[in-house]
Each structure stands twice: as structure tokens, then as C-alpha cells.
């Protein structure tokens, strides 16, 4: 080039995000201390919120970023849970280890699943994932060793002497069941931090930028060298891994499983979709806001039975029609605040001099 261009710097941090980072760290410390502060009931509620948040972030990554709208993610929740139950009951493996195995086997399941469902497009992909979930549910319902259609429970001692429970009993003088809840709660907290960390790291990476390009215009992305199919497959496998782990963790805490519960469309897909849509699809902050609203609504309307779900459906439709970027979208569009900024902002060079035209102009 004729003239050396003064070097540029690329920034992504914003003032809001640095402030929020400090707040998040403080919140995390408080969260880790929770089992010593709040009652066991609150811990179980927090566990529910955290696990639903993990499922919501994963579905959001699939639909909001990779453009893969799945109505079948319950297959990994259920399959992960059953893998964990299988390891514990049939092989006597410690539940915490079984959770990890559940994640790995879920990825193994995701490979053939992707092979079938990626042949379908858009709405047909959505229903295709649902069929696959039904197939796996029906197959597992035949597995007599794990209680077949009626399901089974974890043996009492399995969760009582889980890894770390003994230590906590001695160290903090907790009762066994209390220690069990605290352990699963901490695991859930770690899983949330890991999930959000992974997704945010991905979005800040080159692959994340490529994914956003594919979501925006797949043909143009291909024309500049982005392999859309590979990108989507990797995201599909990653979300299967985390969703499998979440499923196993949820059912360690529940300790009771049945095919219809573990593969429930309502619990592991419908609720998750509403959390993401109401909160704000295509953002990391959306599902966080969404799960809080979802939890409040559930408590508020818990005793209204199916009215609650009816209301949730109407709210989801209204938001999808009139505020497609969800409640967080509305907030961040107005205030410009982003807790997880991803935008690569170019600073320095002629930008700072802001004169018009390049060296030739």
C-alpha cells in the first residue's frame, strides 16, 4: 500500500459490560455460599432455575445463533438421564461420574440424529427432531432393566454416598440428603457458568462470527469460505453434550425416572422455548431474564393448573409477533446496554481523524 495505515485496535468490551462483570462475580460468590445461607427448599428452587437456564441457553444457541429450530432437545435430556441411571444401577458407577458419561453418550447419539434430521429443512427439521425423540423414548420404554414404561428409582445409597457428600457431611455437619442437594446445586451452578462461558467464548471467537454470518445469509457466507454445514453440526453436537449432562444432573436430584417424564416435550422443550422467546432469542442475556420471569410466573399461577400454560402460550405468541427480540431485546434496544457484548468495534487509524475518503479520495 502506498501509505502505512496507522494500526487499528479492535475492542469488544463496553462500559456496561465491565461494570456487569464485577456484579456477576459478586453474584457468583453469593450463589456458591447459598447452601449455607438459605433453606433447602430455596436451594431446590435455585437448582430448578439453573438447570432450566442451561437448557434454555443451549436451545437458544441452536435456534438463535445456528438457525436450527429443534422441537426434540428432550431426546438428550432423557437419554442423558437414562444413561446416568444405567451407569449407576447396572454398573454401580458414582452418579457424578455417570453425569459426565451421559454427556459423552449424548454426543454419540447426536451423530446419527444429525445425519437424519439435517436432511430436513426448517419446519420439517423441527418435527424430524421430535420424531427422533419419540423413537428413543419408545425404545427406552422397552428396556425392562430400567423399569420399562413405568420407570424406576435410584438406589438410596447411590446418592447418599456420592462423591463429596461424605466430606461435606464431616466438614459442614450437613445431613446426607441436605449435602446431596447442596452438591447437585453446586454442580448445576458450575454447569451454568461453564455453559455461558462456552457460548460467550464461542461468540467472541472466529467460529462464532462465522455462525452469525451463516445465520444472516447462508449463501453469502459460503461465498466467503464459511462451511455452514460443518458449523451447524459442531453446534448441534456441543448442545447435545451439555443438554445430556443437564438431563443427567436433573435426574440425579429427582432420583426417580420414567420415559414419559424424561422425554416430556412440555417440560424440556415447550417451557425452554418460552423462556428463550419471552426473554429474548439470539442473546445470552435473554434466557437469563426469561428463566427468572418463567419462575415467577410459575409460582404466581401454579395453582391455576392448565391456565398457566395457556397464559404462557399466549404470552409467547404475543411476544413473537410484537417484540421478536423479546423483553431483553426491548430493553437493550432502548438503553444500548449489553452484558455480553460481541460486536467487534474498530477504533484508531483514520477513524479517529474522521476525515472523509481513503488515501486516494
Amino acid at each position: 500500500m502506498t501509505m502505512a495505515i496507522p494500526s487499528f485496535i479492535v475492542e469488544t468490551r463496553t462500559r456496561a459490560s465491565t461494570l456487569s462483570a464485577a456484579a456477576v462475580i459478586a453474584l457468583l460468590l453469593l450463589a456458591f455460599a447459598a447452601p449455607f445461607i438459605v433453606s433447602r427448599g430455596v436451594i431446590q428452587d435455585l437448582f430448578f432455575i439453573l438447570t432450566m437456564l442451561v437448557l434454555a441457553q443451549n436451545w437458544n444457541l441452536l435456534a438463535g445463533y445456528a438457525g436450527l429450530i429443534s422441537v426434540g432437545q428432550q431426546v438428550f435430556v432423557g437419554f442423558g438421564a437414562y444413561t446416568m441411571f444405567g451407569c449407576v444401577i447396572l454398573f454401580g458407577i458414582d452418579p457424578v461420574v455417570a453425569i459426565l458419561i451421559a454427556g459423552l453418550l449424548s454426543v454419540a447419539l447426536a451423530i446419527p440424529t444429525a445425519f437424519f434430521t439435517f436432511r430436513l429443512y426448517g419446519p420439517y427439521f423441527a418435527i424430524g427432531t421430535w420424531v427422533v425423540a419419540e423413537v428413543v423414548r419408545l425404545l427406552l420404554a422397552q428396556w425392562k432393566a430400567l423399569g420399562g414404561g413405568t420407570g424406576t428409582s435410584l438406589p438410596r445409597d447411590a446418592t447418599r454416598d456420592m462423591m463429596g457428600v461424605g466430606a461435606m457431611r464431616d466438614l459442614f455437619g450437613m445431613k446426607a440428603s441436605e449435602a446431596g442437594d447442596a452438591l447437585t446445586y453446586w454442580l448445576a451452578l458450575i454447569l451454568v457458568v461453564a455453559t455461558i462461558g462456552f457460548i460467550y467464548g464461542l461468540l467472541r471467537s472466529k467460529q462464532g462470527l462465522g455462525l452469525a454470518a451463516v445465520r444472516d445469509n447462508e449463501q453469502a457466507a459460503g461465498a466467503v469460505g464459511v462451511d455452514a454445514r460443518l458449523m451447524k453440526t459442531l453446534v448441534y453436537l456441543a448442545t447435545a453434550f451439555i443438554t445430556g449432562i443437564a438431563g443427567a444432573l436433573i435426574y440425579v436430584q429427582k432420583a426417580r425416572i420414567s420415559p414419559d417424564a424424561a422425554f416430556s416435550v412440555t417440560d424440556w422443550t415447550a417451557y425452554v422455548i418460552f423462556i428463550v422467546v419471552i426473554g429474548g432469542i439470539g442473546t445470552i442475556e435473554g434466557p437469563i431474564l426469561g428463566v427468572i420471569i418463567f419462575f415467577l410466573l410459575q409460582n404466581l399461577l401454579a395453582d391455576y393448573g392448565s391456565w398457566y400454560l395457556l397464559m404462557l402460550g399466549l404470552l409467547g405468541i404475543a411476544i413473537m409477533l410484537f417484540a421478536p427480540r423479546g423483553l431483553w431485546g426491548l430493553f437493550s434496544d432502548r438503553t444500548g446496554i449489553q452484558l455480553f457484548p460481541v460486536r467487534r468495534v474498530l477504533k484508531g487509524g483514520p477513524l479517529s481523524l474522521t476525515h472523509k475518503g481513503g488515501p486516494h479520495g
Binding site: A63, A126, I127, V131, V135, L314, G316, I317
Partner: protein, 287 residues
């Protein structure tokens, strides 16, 4: 196991699945929209027929005829005031809105009719059957199958012989140029969904009289409809009938081997077709 009888029952069951699928295939062909609440709309129509039969003491067939215009209006309004707003480049809004709609219908019905499973009694017709040599076929299954054939013949006549049918196809090809011909795409879409709801009412009649149903049995019907459309191949109504028959036979054969395997066998047949013929058996070839 009497093979011939199993296959015959499967073919007749295929007629029911083709009725589930015909509306889905029609709407997708015209506006590339899949209504995830399609199964729940079938159940809604079944409850509508149930109410007409129980409160007005009508014969199910008469009740179905009365329910058709009502369902047409529901379909027309649903498309014109709600679903048309979601059409566009992004496939997310229509999917999420219809998913929400499915949840709303299911829980609305739960509030109205509780969760017990219901059935529309068709009197003597239910048990009547006719002897076809080696196999016997129930009157209702036979009527279901011939209704499916009749519906597909009528729909094909409408689409390929009438001016509204031309408008459907033109709008599906190019909505902007269709506008230049004086066609109003949003009205055409509403008409198509309304028509799909009429077919849904016929499907609901046979669903309601042959099997138990409750507010949550919509999703499984959606999946059967979807599988019939995919097996048959997109955009071809005769293909949808063929898809329904293949699904029906797979299910009856599966059930004959082990009663718990009926639905599973259907899904596996679907996955097998998807493996070897991703575009379905008759992609728009037979029309």
C-alpha cells in the same frame, strides 16, 4: 398372524393418516408454512363434533357437516389475523407462534373438557363390517379410506381445474407477480388454511369415532401427518396418500409382532424412507 388382514387394516389406517396429512400438505405447498398446531386443530374439531353430537343429539356425520363451516371460519381467521403476520424470510416466527398456538389449544381444551379421553359414538356403524373373502374390513375404516381418496380427488380437481386453484399455484410460485394479476395473497393464504380446516374436520370425524382422544392427543397426530407427507414426498397429494398407507401398514405390522411396537414401527419406517429417499417416494412426480 393373518398377513393379508394386517396389511388391509394398515392400508385402511393409512386413509386416516392421509386425511391428517392432506391439510398440512396443501398449506405447505402454497405458503411453505408448517402449522405445529395442526394436530391440535384436529382434536379441536373432534371436540366440536363431540359437543354437537352430545348437546344436539345429532348423528356424527351430520355434526361433522355442521362443524365444517365453523372450522373453515376458525382456519380463515387464524391465518388472516395471526399467521399471515408471521410469513416472511425468517422461519422462526411461524414455528414459534404455531407452537404457542398448540399449547394454547391443548390447555384451552383441558380447561373446557378436562383430561379424560372421549369418543364419538357412531352407533351400529362402529361394529359393522363387511366380509372381503380372506379378510374382514370394518365399515368405518373403509369409509375413512374412501373419504381420504375422495378428499384428494376433490382437492386435486380444485387445484388443477378451477381458477381459485390457479390462484393457489400462482401465489405459491411468486406472490408479487400474483398481485399484478389481481390476486390478494393474504386472502389466498386464509382461504387455503380454511380449506385445510375442512379436511381436518373430516379427519376429526373418523378420529373421534374410531379411537379415544383427549386434549393432549394432538401432537402425535401432527407427527403421523408429518411422516405421511415426508414419506409421500412434498407437494403431491397422491404421494401423501401413499405415505399414509406405508405408515399405516408399518404400524399394523409392528403391532402384529408386538402390540407395544405399533407407533415405534411407524417411526422406523419413516426414518428408513428418509435414509434412502430424502425427498420422499413421490416428490411432486405423481400429481
Amino acid at each position: 398372524m393373518n398377513w393379508l388382514d394386517t396389511i388391509l387394516q394398515g392400508v385402511l389406517l393409512g386413509g386416516l393418516y392421509a386425511l391428517f396429512a392432506a391439510g398440512l400438505s396443501l398449506v405447505f405447498g402454497i405458503m411453505r408454512l408448517v402449522n405445529l398446531a395442526h394436530g391440535d386443530l384436529i382434536v379441536l374439531a373432534a371436540f366440536l363434533i363431540l359437543v354437537l353430537v352430545t348437546t344436539l343429539g345429532l348423528d356424527p356425520f351430520v355434526a361433522a357437516v355442521i362443524a365444517m363451516p365453523l372450522m373453515f371460519a376458525i382456519g380463515w381467521g387464524l391465518q388472516y389475523f395471526l399467521l399471515n403476520r408471521t410469513l416472511g424470510k425468517d422461519i422462526l416466527p411461524p414455528l414459534l407462534v404455531t407452537f404457542g398456538l398448540s399449547i394454547v389449544i391443548q390447555n384451552g381444551l383441558l380447561e373446557g373438557f378436562s383430561a379424560d379421553s372421549r369418543r364419538v359414538f357412531a352407533g351400529s356403524l362402529e361394529s359393522a363390517s363387511v366380509n372381503l373373502g380372506p379378510a374382514t374390513a370394518g365399515i368405518m375404516p373403509l369409509m375413512t379410506f374412501f373419504s381420504a381418496v375422495a378428499v384428494i380427488v376433490c382437492l386435486n380437481q380444485l387445484i388443477y381445474r378451477t381458477s381459485v386453484g390457479r390462484a393457489f399455484r400462482a401465489t405459491s410460485d411468486d406472490p408479487v407477480t400474483a398481485g399484478l394479476m389481481g390476486i390478494r395473497p393474504h386472502r389466498i393464504f386464509a382461504l387455503a388454511t380454511g380449506l385445510a380446516m375442512v379436511v381436518v374436520t373430516i379427519a376429526a370425524l373418523y378420529l373421534g369415532t374410531r379411537a379415544n382422544f383427549d386434549p393432549t392427543s394432538g401432537p402425535s397426530r401432527l407427527i403421523y401427518a408429518f411422516e405421511a407427507v415426508i414419506i409421500g414426498g412434498l407437494g403431491s397429494l397422491w404421494g401423501t396418500l401413499a405415505g399414509g398407507i406405508i405408515l399405516g401398514v408399518a404400524q399394523t405390522v409392528g403391532a402384529a409382532i408386538n402390540p407395544e411396537w405399533q407407533i415405534l414401527a411407524g417411526h422406523l419406517a419413516f426414518l428408513a424412507v428418509l435414509l434412502f429417499k430424502p425427498r420422499g417416494l413421490f416428490p411432486r412426480a405423481v400429481d
